[in-house]
């Protein structure tokens, strides 16, 4: 064990830092849950891509830098410390990208991966259906083979930013007689196809953060299938692992929030007198974020020596989502009467960002597989407890 960065890693950090210093927009972008903000974020992602900072771990021929996991952690640390904009194409970059790399055809890789890296194509995730949330194997949307097309009918829901995205990927039942996770096929569908209707759903903050997607006999070319027909579940499970694991929520994000929370606490010294428990919560938050970062480095060390991430991904998911909640709840306690103010309020603190973060933190234990489901996975796959 040696916990020092190499000269090369330090040089990499300096390079990232310098680039971000020159390029991070001085004003925060509009929320990517609005059309306007979405396009501003697309432009920012394009800028990252042009300087090869979009997907640092991807190989050079795809516009990346071939970075290893430690360099990726360093990149993320600098990115969050610089208060750079949140990434908007995570569905494409963190879920679909790796799936294509593992299961896609050469042709699909060549076509889609660079467009994902540059955010020329923005992706929506089409897993959930009204009656298939936690129980994803219950999905009913159909994709029936007709020559060199699939004919897709049905409905997806809770699809993040589908109102603004260009494509969706998801699972469809290609064998109408099949049950559960058999007979499912993984398809990529352009959202401007005839027969696709999108109905935005307003999230807690009033913005169109997700949407329902209706498919009415939408014709999808067979080339847009990933993996074999009927093998969609297998492909999707690999993707779900990427999401919950390390990549979706890098520790730096929470370390930066913890740092801001410490600053918020210090700017409001009277709170400690009114509620001594707040200091405790601030300290616990910092320790939680620090532990999450150390756990990430620890996992990376093991992965580099050949270990596979298993149920740890589920532990990560629980830890980051509950930490995020705790930090934002603590911020609300510190803000007191100012906590409820929206960003447009003249007296809002920090542009209302704590309130926005608080609202979004409510979703953390729900999306990417609810925390109840993650706990079941840990109990059954890691501890070996019997299924119900």
């Amino acid at each position: 064990m040696h916990l020092n960065y190499t000269d090369k890693q330090n040089a990499f950090r300096a390079e990232v830092r310098a680039w971000l210093k020159d390029n991070v927009p001085s004003q925060p972008l509009n929320s990517y849950d609005t059309r306007e903000g979405f396009e501003e974020h697309r432009a920012w992602e394009r800028k990252l891509y042009d300087s090869r900072w979009s997907m640092v771990m991807w190989p050079e021929h795809l516009g990346g830098r071939g970075c290893d996991l430690i360099e990726w952690l360093i990149f993320e640390e600098e990115y969050y410390a610089a208060n750079a904009p949140m990434r908007v194409n995570q569905n494409g970059q963190l879920l679909l990208g790796p799936t294509l790399m593992e299961f896609g055809s050469e042709e699909q890789k060549r076509h889609f991966l660079p467009r994902i890296a540059s955010s020329e194509d923005m992706w929506a995730q089409g897993w959930s259906e009204p009656n298939a949330g936690s129980d994803m194997a219950a999905i009913r949307s159909k994709a029936i083979r007709d020559g060199d097309h699939y004919v897709v009918s049905g409905q997806k829901t809770w699809s993040t930013r589908a109102s603004f995205a260009d494509w969706t990927f998801g699972l469809f039942r290609s064998d109408p007689q099949s049950q559960r996770h058999h007979g499912l096929t993984y398809l990529m569908v352009p959202l401007d196809s005839p027969g696709v209707t999108i109905r935005p759903i307003k999230a807690l903050n009033g913005k169109e953060a997700f949407a329902e997607i209706f498919f009415d006999e939408v014709r999808v070319p067979v080339e847009h299938r990933i993996g074999a027909e009927g093998q969609g579940w297998h492909v999707a499970m690999a993707t779900a692992g990427f999401e919950r694991g390390l990549l979706l929520r890098s520790p730096a994000r929470f370390q930066q929030t913890a740092k801001r929370l410490v600053a918020l606490y210090q700017a409001n010294p009277q709170i400690a007198e009114r509620d001594p428990g707040v200091r405790d919560a601030v300290i616990e938050s910092w320790m939680g974020a620090q532990a999450y970062a150390q756990a990430a480095y620890h996992t990376v060390g093991l992965v580099e020596k050949g270990a596979k991430i298993g149920a740890e991904a589920s532990i990560n998911k629980i830890v980051w989502s509950e930490l995020d909640l705790k930090m934002h709840e603590t911020a609300m306690r510190i803000l007191g009467a100012y906590g409820e103010l929206r960003g447009t309020a003249p007296e809002a603190v920090d542009g209302g960002s704590w309130l926005e973060g608080f609202l979004f933190a409510q979703a953390g234990p729900i999306y990417a597989g609810t925390n109840e489901i993650q706990r079941n996975i840990i109990a059954e796959r890691m501890l070996g407890l019997p299924k119900a």
Partner: protein, 352 residues
């Protein structure tokens, strides 16, 4: 940057684990605890033969010269098998204290060599602990006096025993009269050594607590798979699953914090105290949760003297406040993190 252990470190842990599994089963511990002294000379000799006491003694004095990082693994084993703490105190904490004293310090090399051989038991009286463990059997007691380091024999001190809920604990209130002859190091050298000793003691508790947590989780998993209610193993019920999943999460996330702290201590990093306090809080919290959820999933059986769980629970409750209670460690963290010049944020995972 490499946050993993060497093959050697892992192999040594594995060997100690296998050894303790056969030599220190719960029935044996129960037997030992019922004795007046609460310690088994046979087991202690065997542990010394395994090299445990020589682990961090420098090679020059006949030891293996391993550092705090190795002990972050070893203390987990001591916890997992609920080995009484004199082993950690002598072989790790006292060794570290003696090592930290300058070369030429009277008795230093001689004591280190004796530790390596397993010939001496040392109790450490640090002012952070109001009561001192294992004085009743110690050959030498190292105590602090105005920053100085003093070594006294058991005959030279007065002590009064205080029974603990953990039958393996042997705590004493000391009354000592240090003199010029007992002084090993002056306050200049002593202060620094005592600070490090506090960190080592706290880290030893953290490691043991994590081992205890893992043992309680394993015992609980075994139990809920076997115990049936409503015609099914209780481990198939979600409420039971979630209790244990939470324990597993706490343990997983405390581990790297412990290792990080051991590394900071071994390298003498400026932020070592912060790392150690974080580790102690995280590991003790994991252990308390493992105890609480452990007893819950055992039902009334968990409330009995009969189940093994009780030994591990009591140990973790007892250790929680030793080498600095939670308030102590939390305020150390607060002091560091809330300082005006604190370097915190994403780029400072490993210090500034």
């Amino acid at each position: 940057m490499d946050f993993t252990f060497t093959e050697d470190q892992l192999a040594f842990r594995e060997a100690i684990s296998r050894f303790l599994m056969t030599e220190a089963p719960p029935e044996m511990l129960r037997e030992i605890w019922e004795t007046e002294e609460g310690r088994s000379p046979t087991m202690r000799r065997k542990m010394a033969e395994q090299g445990l006491t020589a682990l961090s003694v420098p090679e020059a004095q006949g030891g293996l010269g391993m550092d705090d990082i190795a002990w972050s693994l070893m203390t987990q084993e001591l916890g997992y098998y609920a080995i009484a703490d004199s082993m950690a105190d002598t072989a790790y904490v006292a060794t570290g204290l003696l090592n930290a004293l300058p070369a030429g310090t009277p008795r230093r090399d001689e004591l280190l060599a004796q530790i390596a051989e397993g010939d001496v038991r040392i109790a450490v009286g640090h002012p952070v602990n109001p009561l001192v463990a294992d004085v009743h059997l110690a050959d030498v007691v190292l105590v602090e006096h105005q920053g100085e380091v003093h070594a006294l024999s058991r005959e030279q001190i007065g002590y009064e025993r205080n029974p603990s809920i953990d039958s393996s604990r042997r705590l004493s209130r000391l009354s000592v009269t240090p003199n010029a002859e007992s002084c090993l190091a002056d306050a200049v050298h002593g202060r620094q050594a005592w600070d490090q000793t506090l960190n080592r003691g706290a880290l030893a508790v953290a490691g043991q607590s994590l081992g205890l947590a893992q043992r309680m989780l394993d015992l609980s998993v075994d139990y809920v798979v076997q115990r049936k209610q409503f015609g099914k193993p209780i481990g198939s019920f979600q409420a039971v699953k979630h209790h244990l999943a939470d324990v597993a999460s706490k343990i997983e996330f405390a581990k790297p914090v412990l290792y990080r702290a051991a590394h900071a201590l071994a390298r003498g990093e400026a932020g070592a105290a912060l790392c150690v306090s974080h580790a102690k809080l995280a590991c003790c919290e994991a252990a308390w949760l493992a105890a609480r959820h452990g007893i819950q999933v055992h039902g009334a059986m968990g409330y009995t003297w009969e189940v093994d769980l009780q030994m591990f629970m009591k140990r973790c409750w007892a250790l929680d406040s030793s080498w600095g209670d939670r308030a102590f460690h939390k305020s150390r963290v607060a002091k560091a993190v809330l300082a005006d010049d604190a370097t915190i944020g994403p780029q400072y995972t490993f210090g500034s």
